[in-house]
Symmetry: C2
Subunit: 332 residues, 2 copies
Amino acid sequence: MGDKRILLAHGSGGKFSHQLIDELIIKNLGNPILNALDDSAVLNKRKLAFTTDSFVVEPLFFPGGDIGKLAVFGTVNDLSMVGAKPLSLSLSFIIEEGFPLNDLERIILSIKKACQVAKVKVVTGDTKVVEKGKADKIFINTAGIGMIKKYLSARGVKPGDEIILSGNLGDHSIAILQARGNFNFKTKLKSDLAPLSELVEIILDSGMDIHCFRDPTRGGLATILNEVAQVSDLGIEIEEEKIPICEEVKGVCEMLGFDPLYLANEGKLVAFSNPKDAQQLLKLMRKHKYGRKASLIGEVTPSPKGKVLLKTRIGGKRILDLLSGEQLPRIC
Amino acid sequence: MGDKRILLAHGSGGKFSHQLIDELIIKNLGNPILNALDDSAVLNKRKLAFTTDSFVVEPLFFPGGDIGKLAVFGTVNDLSMVGAKPLSLSLSFIIEEGFPLNDLERIILSIKKACQVAKVKVVTGDTKVVEKGKADKIFINTAGIGMIKKYLSARGVKPGDEIILSGNLGDHSIAILQARGNFNFKTKLKSDLAPLSELVEIILDSGMDIHCFRDPTRGGLATILNEVAQVSDLGIEIEEEKIPICEEVKGVCEMLGFDPLYLANEGKLVAFSNPKDAQQLLKLMRKHKYGRKASLIGEVTPSPKGKVLLKTRIGGKRILDLLSGEQLPRIC
């Protein structure tokens, strides 16, 4: 490692994150379950899903949510993505000395409400306090356990699969950025933060032939498509003009030079469907409040293996790579 | 909550921690599983144990261990305490920008070794990076899943149960304190950090009638005895002179005014045993490397309900209460 140091980009979900995971984590701690690198680990003869996330979002409260709601729905969604019904959460706080108890109460009440909405329970927890200046207000870790209804993995993706995105990209990232007071203008944007468990359950119960779900959080749509292409050893081709992005996000991205395909979302899913069911799936998703703007954005191709191609609006094709560097630290 | 703020004492494991858990967490998120307040949640018809802990120990490397080994064994031990065989861990890092990759590698190699020793696997994980100055080097969260062999809980404790402590108290806390460079003298003390899973398995396999295990970590022996007394609604009486403490810990405690009964341990357990099996259990524990200095320290009494009495060396009795305030922040 020499005298190399951790960069913000190591937490981006992009190239540096993948490098860190490959060269330090998988190399030393790897095993078949961990190496699958799905949104949740799959245990106990594919009956149990297990996942974890730490949340360091800044600011703690933002339009559409807060760190507590994010911690619950973030973990609920990771369980949903492998086809599991989320059941039990752990909840662990690292709090900076001097943090207002009122804010902690507000976060806990938000967690309570989020648990009710997502039908999960906090069953175990931990609280640590560090001296003033040794953490930034509060960090939350949630781990979650779910029971698998239908096991889904990026390894189940097949050539010809149609790719459906459940709605607009980028709302979460831009809402956070705005809450930081970085703009001298105001939009009405809210984070898309939402639990995807109900939508996933409806899709699974429909009996349609779904091969994989992913939620495009940190690193955005481009990152999860690259992950699926790499794990499945297939190609992916998507069409820029089919990707739903609202005017406000488009505007901010153009102004600040962000690519919306790399922005984090917290209430969206991408479904890889057997082509025979794709149109019906699209209809089903559009009936649900978290899928109203669902769109068929592309398909899985036999080649180029492990790569994602973007058909641009002007008709060209370019490789959509993993993010290098970091667009927006502490987005979740 | 008014304008109250989080104090270091809220992370002590003592009175303030209990108050925070009762008034904010249990009040708002409570359910029968969480409310049991055992070292792990017990799920799925008492088949599955689930626990979490965040680790903020300072310094990261200390005699006898480091934050990585602590994160693995801490969670392994919490699973063991409810009678479970630890199986799968999640591993989540919050890292400060600029943290040396060499140190991260050293921590991950230590996690690798600890997982091998405790026979558990890391199956899922997460890495977040925050800006320089927004966290203190590195924090780790581990959650763990285990399969329950024999379900144990503080609610299973009965009047007449004999209480056995597996070895010396206080080594971990004093080793950490020394590593901070707070003394102008040196001891040979090392943290007692160890996985208790094998010792627990041997005890459970012996068929002896054990009613409860607890590990006296943050808040120490006094805290876990108070927790057991409260949950079981029984009294506990222990004898000061039977509690094993090494000379060096005794010396440091006398000099600095610490009470060793409140010091954290990371490789000790307290067993509550049917009196008919207590002598045999003591023998069995003394044969194991992590139980060599096991000692019968007291018993469970029908009253005073919810209280712990300490018979002092000079023959008096005093109530041993929960810690108020904080002796040593960031001990784990």
